[in-house]
Amino acid sequence: MKPTGRITPWLFLAPGLAVFGAAVLLPMVLTVGYSFTEWDGFGPMSFVGLDNYTRAVGDELFRDSFVHVIIYIAATIVLEVGVGLALAGLITMRRAGMWFRVAIFVPVMLPLVVVAVLWSFVYNPDFGLINGALAGLGLEDFQRIWLGDPATALLAISVVSGWVFAGFYMVIFYAALRQIPAEIVEAAKLDGASEWALFRHVKVPMIRGAIGVAILLCVTGGFQGFDLFFVLTNGGPYGATEIPTTLLVKTVFRAGDVGYGSAMAVLLTAIVVGVGLMYAQARRRSERSR
């Protein structure tokens, strides 16, 4: 049956649009609105123009938080995407059993807060597994205050992130590798390609698209990271693991500075969207040039 009037499609769209408007658009518009105010969340609100944005640009903590998140993203591209790719390569080469794949994937199914609590025990300098194992092996010199030393804290969190998400990317790459036509692999083998050469020069180039998507997910997901940082270090020690989201939450929920926190949120969103757009444009250019 064809729609009988112009309004009919809109009637069907209305429920979805209403939910989207109330759950996504309205909070976004309100956040932008709040970012021009000084407000503690429930008292009187005063308009301050662009003051919150000026403050954010000059805020050393906010600027440093972006440096930290970029380092974290760089580390996770290696520990999540890189390790995920390596694992996918291994399980396709060696035809690893389903249990192995499930074991690698299990951390992805755990809530990140649970993961963070588990790893806080692993990293605990006084009672933790790592320092305990090092002591048991007579390697006390290698013991560290893993989450309390600015030199190791960010890397320690990146390792946890890698432990969780490497399995996720492994599954993506495994699915992509399985799509490679068997005759191409056979042809390479007949030409004498080793497993490594086959992986490096045939399989990886053929799943370039999946790798690109994985990197984009890793980058945008990195900017949105929060749980691990919040539970493991809460931005410490001495601000060494402060990222925009933890700083934002502290600003809004602890200091009660909703206006400034909203400005931070708007800037963070703009940067994430900007990175996503630049990445998409770069990919389009790269595809056109091929």
Binding site: D40, G41, F42, G43, P44, E60, L61, N124, P125, D126, F127, I145, W146, L147, G148, D149, P150, A153, T233, N234, G236, P237, Y238, G239, K250, T251, V252, F253, R254, A255, G256, D257
Partner: protein
């Protein structure tokens, strides 16, 4: 009129009548009194629920709705959300100091002066508890308990074993640190990941050195932190680090992990508040422990060396409530001698109501309460007594010095810069 139409009208009339009668019944039936607080723990919840049940029995038609939130959630976004929501609480827990004053300024604190002088709350308290609960001479909070937020708890067996007497002076504390450190025992266990745990303690040290007036003025936004007085105060934090007084992991673990070092006998001392008593008894019933107030700082320090860092807590009444009188009566019941006794015996709290002094409180809790009541200077913790953002930055600066990441001068300069002073 057709038969069908008559039937429709009759059904509609019956439905309408039903709706009207049920609505009017609802109006006549229940009044809801909403009470909000951070979770007082399982034992505390049982006492509060019992008080609510008593109140409902005394006031037929009144339903008391208790809302216990996670402590951190309540302290941050929980309470503001409740207050600005449609079903705002009639009674809510609050800390005295800047938070309480802010609530009052924002229009969420009723003037309770009359209620405590000649109303249902009269005669419950000693007059000494009201200055903390007042804004501009008006009582705006009904006191319940006082949390001494920091003393030095010590493991009596460990100190005895190493021939150490509980430190009464700063010099004695440093000697105790050296002795214990040499013996392979962590002198002071603390978990400062969230910054407030050691932050309160270190701020108390600072107040003893710079003096209570300078402490209050600087934390209130007057002047800068980069002064010789504050640098001297932070120098004592540096001394703690130099003498290995505190566990290396201090800034990496949370307050719970810090307390576990003490509960498990790995640390000889633990600087934290009055709530440790029931916590320690739960975690390690065999632990023998006691406390001393912060040791006196060296001669020349400007503050009262008997000062105590503490915060009075209690309940405010929402002036926008339609049940203000009921709310006040509820708080009178909460602080009645019978319920004060229940809070002491069942929740191991030490309420401020006068009737508590006759009860059999844990000796350590009673002495803690005495610390608060003796008349020595009371220093407010930065995070409840003053602006929270300032408090967080102050704690960060103290943690940086304690962790050896910054000198006192550097930490104070960074603090001023971040506060825009």
């Amino acid at each position: 009129m057709r038969r069908g139409q008559r039937t429709l009208i009759a059904v509609s009339a019956a439905l309408a009548l039903g709706v009207v009668s049920s609505a009017s019944g609802a109006l006549a039936q229940d009044t809801t009194l909403r009470v909000a607080m951070g979770s007082p723990g399982e034992a505390g919840i049982r006492v509060w629920d019992a008080v609510a049940a008593q109140f409902e029995e005394m006031h037929p038609g009144v339903d008391v709705e208790m809302n216990y939130q996670d402590d951190d959630l309540y302290q941050t976004i929980g309470l503001p959300n409740l207050l600005s929501g449609r079903n705002a609480p009639d009674v809510y827990f609050e800390w005295t100091g800047d938070r309480m004053a802010q609530r009052y300024a924002d229009g969420y604190g009723a003037d309770l002066t009359e209620a405590v002088t000649s109303g249902p709350l009269a005669g419950i308290y000693n007059e000494g508890v009201f200055p903390f609960a007042s804004v501009d001479g008006k009582v705006v909070l009904v006191p319940h308990t006082a949390d001494v937020t920091n003393v030095i708890w010590y493991n009596t067996a460990i100190l005895d074993e190493h021939g150490i007497t509980p430190p009464a002076t700063w010099e004695e504390l440093l000697v105790a640190c050296d002795t214990l450190d040499a013996a392979g025992v962590v002198p002071i266990g603390s978990g400062n990941k969230d910054l407030w745990a050691a932050g309160n303690w270190l701020s108390h040290i600072a107040s003893r050195v710079v003096g209570e007036d300078v402490y209050a003025a600087t934390l209130s936004g007057e002047g800068v932190f980069s002064t010789p007085e504050w640098e001297e105060a932070f120098g004592y934090i540096e001394e703690l680090a130099a003498h290995n007084c505190v566990n290396e992991s201090v800034n990496a673990v949370d307050d719970n992990a810090g307390a576990q070092l003490f509960f498990q006998g790995k640390a000889a001392m633990h600087p934290i508040g009055s709530w440790l008593v029931s916590w320690a008894i739960d975690e390690n019933p065999d632990l023998e422990f006691d406390f001393v107030n912060l040791p006196a700082m060296p001669e020349g320090s400007a503050g009262d060396q008997d000062s105590v860092i503490a915060v009075e807590t209690g309940h405010m009444v929402n002036p926008n409530s339609e049940n203000i009188d009921l709310a006040i009566e509820f708080l009178a019941l909460v602080n009645s001698p019978e319920n004060v006794l229940a809070f002491i015996n069942d929740a191991e709290l030490a309420p401020l109501a006068e009737s508590a002094s006759a009860a059999d409180v844990d000796a350590r809790s009673a002495r803690l309460n005495d610390l608060f009541k003796t008349g020595a200077a009371v220093v407010l913790p930065p995070d409840t007594g003053y602006d929270v953002e300032m408090a967080l930055q102050l704690y960060e600066a103290e943690a940086a010095v304690l962790g050896g990441q910054a000198t006192p001068a550097e930490a104070l300069a960074t603090l001023d810069e971040r506060l825009g002073r």
